[in-house]
Symmetry: C2
Subunit: 200 residues, 2 copies
């Protein structure tokens, strides 16, 4: 015995969400059906609209339902700085950290030959156009500090070097507020290699 | 800065799901928008249908999109036994445990005067009709072993006693497979009070 066919379909459909197993799906379905139908209907409407209407910004490729995202439309950003990130969530994290005032470009992934993800999938044509059109002075390669992120940064560097643009990569080192005791060895040795003169 | 308005609306809408905070909502939205639009569209369609079409079984009040649920339609259940539970999830748990072959009635909650949940909200009129129409021999009060579940069981017992129906309550005691060391005091003393003759 199980729930009714439609409730069972709902349990299955909820499992597309990350971290949702059978028990969580059941709890979610019961919440929506037993306690918050209006919230469920609202979620269904907005989810349907979002998967239909949200596309990529024509300039930076972040997620937006407009042609250009809010940040690309803003006149108050520095056009000479371009930060390349793997995902819209990375872009948001950098914005929330504050301090960076340049533009962005979102790859929506990283190079991964085994998964069949090559340069074409990362919108590098769009990146080319963007760099040609704008007077960009420095490109910050802010892909993740993972094997794939590193490889992608190296590939991008190879592509961009001939254009004479300054390239940089985020600093590696010990995270703020942490204790050295708990920092992994790889990070620690990178922090040693990248040590800075101490100015009091 | 945040995501685009529609993506932000999606993050808000996802928070109707239990256990979904801002970070989880973001991870879910990114999964759906970046990696599985078809799954997202499917979830939106089924969720919209479910909140619209799933109602209560006309007999036992469990969740179903039919007039009667599968279990009420089954001719192979014992009509003389009725088990009253608080939720469709409780009913499913009992079915999955196996062994019980009677019918069910789902209250969709428990008496809770402070939350304004009275007898009318628990479908007790439907329960009356059901008990009158069927030749029920025994009613098992399987509300939760919580303060509210107990109060609800007592109220139901008061209502059903005058009809001369046999009433029972699930046994309290130590859970199978546990260690006594970790069983709470309340459960242990109930298990002592309810001790059974030991037949080898």
């Amino acid at each position: 015995m199980a729930f009714s066919p439609l409730v069972d379909q709902l349990l299955d459909a909820l499992r597309v969400l990350p971290g949702v197993g059978p028990k969580t799906a059941q709890r979610m379905a019961m919440q929506v059906l037993e306690r918050d139908r209006e919230g469920g209907a609202q979620l269904a409407r907005i989810l349907a609209r979002a998967v239909e209407e949200v596309g990529y910004c024509a300039r930076c490729r972040t997620l937006t339902e407009q042609t250009f995202c809010e940040l690309c439309e803003s006149p108050r950003r520095d056009d000479q700085l371009l930060c390349i990130v793997e995902s819209p969530a990375d872009m948001l994290a950098i914005e929330e950290a504050g301090g960076y005032r340049g533009r962005y470009f979102v790859l929506h992934g990283h190079l991964s030959p085994l998964d069949g993800i090559g340069p074409d999938d990362l919108g590098l044509d769009d990146l080319d156009t963007l760099i040609k059109d704008a007077a960009i002075d420095e490109v910050i390669l802010a892909t993740n500090p993972t094997v794939e992120g590193e490889a992608t940064a190296h590939y991008l560097a190879q592509q961009l070097k001939p254009r004479g643009i300054r390239l940089s990569r985020l600093a590696y080192g010990v995270p703020m507020g942490g204790e050295l005791e708990y920092v992994d060895g790889g990070t620690l040795s990178r922090a040693f290699m990248g040590r800075q003169p101490f100015n009091e």
